[in-house]
């Protein structure tokens, strides 16, 4: 059976939880041939994963670099129909009408036809479309906002044009499309649906729209541009949830967003991530000094700053305690890493906070401490927590995403960004050996029961089969009906 796996900015070009998950799934599902469609920034990124043998083909779709399909051309003859498709799409973005999601999908289909013939840039980089956008945006804000400057209209349309680039890709034929996130990846799934009626499985780790909102806050774009891009992304995600035949969030928590964005509750099914319990096995020994372990990227989303601040409080009570941070800053995020190092210096913790860098054997990292801490402000169902549980170590985690769901009653949960509460939770475990032992055992049991690779792989095996059957019942291709 052929499965088209669609990723955006992750597998096989980048490290991280989603990429690890894709690799695990493909390697586990040996009975399937995978056609990998990787949406990437430029299409020139080197792969950081060796592709498993059952990957039949790899298609890279550049979203940001110029390419043949979307080469910027001087205006030639423009069809009125092109502008109309773009304007219809924008109308659906800003409309509060209940039919807007349908109109949006219909407009996407028109844009797909244009993109397939190489006219996406010419369609969106048009004076008429910019004028329409300015009017729609003004109406969206009840005509109370200042007029949209042309620069903002152009920037927003340019960003939307890039976001729509996957529509110019001709997807390979498969029996199931498996999109690993909502958003841009779903455009490929929609194209396959329109062309061949291929069923779409949408597996979400985080919530795409939620992460886009957080990212937009830090982007150097004007407020109107952010508002337009957010409105567009919101409609796109809605289209993804509506088009999906099955949505598998990796935790229950995400379902709140998915339902809010129009996902049919009947199509929602949580599938937990899994880890290899043979690779991550418990250790009977603990280090002699009280040690807190953090495993993950040194990144603002992990809020390592709060972790360091809370550790300073722990040190006041337990002067011998250590914090070992396993992980590196992502490329381009070195400033945050320096901020963390500076904070350690300011707090006089140079001796007790150790930046260990990347650890070749992650299990060694987990068992290097008594407890494992995750201070994130945003998470799906983090591997760190699951792996620590499999290693029989109790977690202290923040109440974000699926962290609480994963840990259950086998560790402690505190609100994010609260160094004091995080420190108290750490101290409670560090000073109570018996409680640690009990929780650690419970954690291992819970991991074996709910969070193994075998479990996740078997679930997707069933899902693929169910989706691919029965072929006769597949929906007629959109827009091709007589």
């Amino acid at each position: 059976m052929d499965v088209m796996l669609v990723t955006e900015g992750t597998y096989p070009h980048a490290h991280g939880g989603v990429s690890v998950w894709c690799d695990q799934m493909i390697r586990g599902l040996t009975g399937y041939r995978f056609h990998l469609v990787a949406l990437s920034a430029t299409g020139r990124e080197p792969a950081v994963f060796d592709l498993p043998r059952n990957v039949a083909s790899l298609h890279t779709v550049p979203v940001w670099a110029n390419s043949h399909a979307a080469a910027s051309r001087a205006p030639r003859v423009r069809s009125v129909r092109w502008c109309a498709a773009a304007i219809d799409m924008l109308e659906a973005v800003f409309s509060s009408d209940s039919a807007a999601p349908d109109s949006f999908e219909a407009a996407l289909f028109e844009l797909y036809l244009l993109a397939q013939s190489g006219h996406l840039v010419e369609t969106l980089h048009t004076d008429a479309v910019a004028v329409a956008l300015a009017e729609l945006w003004s109406g969206y804000h009840d005509h109370t906002a200042p007029a949209l400057p042309l620069a903002d209209a152009m920037t927003a349309l340019n960003l939307i044009e890039h976001a729509l680039r996957p529509l110019s890709f001709q997807p390979p034929v498969a029996e199931v499309v498996h999109a690993v996130s909502n958003g841009l990846a779903v455009l490929v799934g929609l194209a396959a649906k329109w062309n061949h009626g291929t069923p779409l499985l949408l597996a979400e780790h985080g919530v795409y729209l939620r992460e886009r909102y957080l990212a937009l806050r830090n982007e150097r774009l004007s407020w109107p541009v952010k508002s337009i891009v957010a409105a567009f992304t919101r409609r796109l995600c809605e289209a993804g949830y509506r088009a999906a035949d099955l949505i598998t969030p990796c935790n229950e928590y995400n379902q709140r967003w998915e339902r809010r964005l129009g996902a049919d509750p009947a199509k929602l099914r949580t599938v937990y991530n899994g880890v290899d319990p043979r690779r991550f096995h418990p250790s009977d020994t603990e280090p002699e000094t009280p040690t807190i372990v953090f495993v993950g990227r040194i990144d603002p989303l992990k809020d390592v700053i709060t972790l360091i601040r809370s550790f300073a409080i722990v040190r006041e009570q337990l002067p011998g305690a250590r914090l070992r941070i396993f992980g590196t800053a992502p490329k381009g995020g070195e400033a945050y890493f320096r901020e963390c190092v500076e904070l350690v210096g300011q707090l006089g913790l140079e001796e007790s906070v150790i930046f260990e860098g990347q650890c070749a054997d992650t299990r060694q990292a987990y068992v290097a401490g008594q407890i494992v801490v995750l201070s994130s402000i945003s998470e799906g169902l983090p591997f760190t927590v699951l792996e620590a549980m499999a290693c029989g170590r109790p977690n202290v985690g923040t109440e974000v995403g699926g962290v609480g769901e994963a840990i259950g009653d086998t560790g402690l949960i505190v609100p994010p960004r609260r160094p004091g509460e995080l420190a108290q939770a750490c101290l409670a475990l560090l000073t109570d050996h018996e409680r640690r032992r009990t929780l650690g055992k419970a954690a291992r049991r819970r991991a074996l029961e709910l969070f193994t690779i075998e479990h996740a792989v078997a679930t997707f095996d069933t899902i693929y089969r169910d989706l691919a059957l029965p072929p006769a019942a597949a929906a007629a291709p959109f827009g091709v009906a007589a």
């Binding site: 920034a41 430029t42 020139r44 990124e45 080197p46 940001w64 670099a65 110029n66 390419s67 043949h68 910027s72 051309r73 001087a74 205006p75 980089h125 004076d127 910019a130 004028v131 300015a134 804000h141 906002a145 200042p146 007029a147 949209l148 400057p149 042309l150 620069a151 152009m154 920037t155 340019n158 729209l209 939620r210 992460e211 909102y213 957080l214 937009l216 806050r217 150097r220 004007s222 407020w223 109107p224 952010k226 508002s227 957010a230 409105a231 919101r234 709140r256 967003w257 809010r260 402000i377 945003s378 923040t398 109440e399 974000v400 609100p415 994010p416 960004r417 609260r418």
Partner: protein, 479 residues
């Protein structure tokens, strides 16, 4: 119960507090606006939350953006129920969104900065470094015509090649691939230096060019090729330092110093620029090779570079076999003029960006953008004319023939600037005919007198200006 009137603000206190804060802060950056409330007694827990998260609430693009922000602040559905008595975070966010007015009238400081004077002028001078070839011609008086032609051909090729490499690197920088850009610059420079050395060796063998002719030509070429990475990656000041020995050498030869000193100065600059190029293009990761698509996009840039190089070389050096110094002075005028041209180009860019940031639609754009372009080109002509007048008065008053050469420089300058405008728009469609015309003109250059050449240069300037106006009058050309 009657429906609430549209005129009644349901949240007067908090709403007024934010509105006042926005007005006070006028158009300053958001997030730093202090929202002060004296009448705290009327505030409920949601108002207080709005105040404590004022930046999130006032800049949120919609209620869901507030939900996302609340979650990262540690609020959950449970908190919404227990602390605020609301069913979930989505309802809480709706409340916050309603209570806090948008601060959309306070834009981020986006108005483009005016160009930095020193850096811009420096870039201009460095961009025009190829005119250093003039120094070479000064030392060539004893070489045969064939040797001179061969050396000039190598230099013109290098000019076009440099344009191509720069374009490839800029394209990669544009998509955020700094390492990939470095790789292009590094490999491109190394190959070019090797090839150029080989070609010079060949010229030496074939035409038995004297070393004192070939060596300075080779080092000038080396400098110009090695300068490309520094210009693309923004290492202007380091490059200027590398250029210092050559500048001193040029000054010394202008004052009648020994050609050997000039040659040594240029060689020192070439070595320094090469070292700089290698240093700033060190790679941190391995990156992908050039694609055919990238090469095809760079082709028009190579051609137009070739055309420009040929034009400048032939107009200024072709018909002036016996008149080294005047041609050199005219070349120097053109060099300085391109420095000013960079300034005019930045001014134009600044005006266009400022225009786009304020106009609400594309209707008036073409007319105004074309006016800015015309002003920039007129200024360029005027500044070149002023430089030419000074140089003529200072050096060549005694040589009436030199007037024609200066005229050529003045006529060339706006055309070169117009070509720059076309090129930086990446308007491939406009580039091809431009490149072809330039090449045709370059072919027609020999055998004409200086006045006729100046007329030809002026004609090309007008033609290029028209093409530049076509390439820049759409707002989309400035994305």
């Amino acid at each position: 119960m009657s429906a609430p009137s549209l005129l009644t603000d349901p949240y007067p206190t908090i709403h007024r507090a934010f509105t006042t804060a926005y007005t006070q802060a006028r158009r300053s950056t958001l997030g730093t606006i202090p929202v002060t409330i004296t009448d705290t007694a009327t505030l409920d827990s949601i108002d207080r939350l709005a105040l404590s998260l004022s930046e999130l609430c006032s800049t949120a693009v919609d209620p869901l953006a507030i939900v996302a922000g609340l979650e990262t602040e540690g609020y959950s559905d449970r908190a919404a129920r227990e602390q605020f008595g609301l069913p979930d975070l989505f309802v809480l966010a709706d409340q916050l969104h309603k209570r806090v007015p948008r601060a959309m009238s306070a834009p981020e400081p986006r108005a483009p900065k005016p160009p930095a004077a020193a850096r811009t002028l420096l870039r201009g001078l460095l961009f025009a470094a190829p005119a250093l070839y003039g120094v070479t011609f000064l030392t060539m008086t004893s070489a045969s015509g064939t040797t001179r032609a061969a050396l000039a051909a190598v230099q013109i090729l290098a000019w076009g090649y440099g344009q191509g490499i720069a374009h490839l690197a800029y394209a990669r920088l544009g998509s955020g691939e700094r390492d990939a850009a470095r790789q292009v610059l590094r490999n491109g420079t190394l190959w070019a230096l090797l090839t150029a050395t080989g070609l010079f060796g060949l010229i030496e063998l074939l035409f038995a060019a004297p070393a004192r002719v070939a060596a300075p030509a080779a080092s000038t070429l080396g400098f110009c090729l090695a300068a490309v990475p520094a210009l693309v990656l923004g290492a202007e000041y380091a490059l200027a330092a590398a250029l210092a020995p050559a500048a001193l050498a040029a000054a010394s030869s202008l004052l009648g110093g020994s050609p050997v000193v000039a040659a040594l100065g240029v060689a020192a600059s070439a070595a320094a620029a090469t070292a700089l190029a290698l240093r700033i293009t060190r790679l941190h990761t391995t990156v992908a090779p050039l694609t055919r698509y990238e090469l095809r996009c760079a082709a028009p840039h190579v051609l137009s570079g070739l055309g420009t190089g040929a034009l400048v070389t032939l107009v200024l050096a072709g018909p002036t076999a016996g008149r080294g110094p005047a041609a050199l002075h005219a070349a120097m005028v053109l060099t300085l003029a391109m420095g000013a041209g960079e300034w005019h180009a930045r001014w134009y860019q600044h005006r266009v960006e400022a225009l786009l940031a304020v106009i609400a639609g594309p209707a008036g754009f073409p007319r105004r953008a074309t006016a800015f372009l015309a002003i920039a080109l007129v200024r360029q002509t005027a500044s070149t004319a002023a430089l030419a007048a000074v140089a003529f008065a200072a050096f060549d008053r005694a040589e009436p023939d030199a007037m024609g050469l200066y005229l050529c420089a003045v006529a060339l300058a706006p055309g070169l600037l117009a070509a720059l405008f076309i090129r930086s728009r990446n308007a491939t469609a406009v580039l091809w005919p431009t490149a072809l015309t330039l090449l045709a003109m370059a072919a027609a250059v020999p055998e004409r007198n200086a006045a006729a050449l100046a007329a030809l240069a002026a004609e090309s300037a007008v033609w290029l200006a028209v093409r530049a106006a076509a390439a820049t009058s759409r707002p989309w050309a400035h994305l």
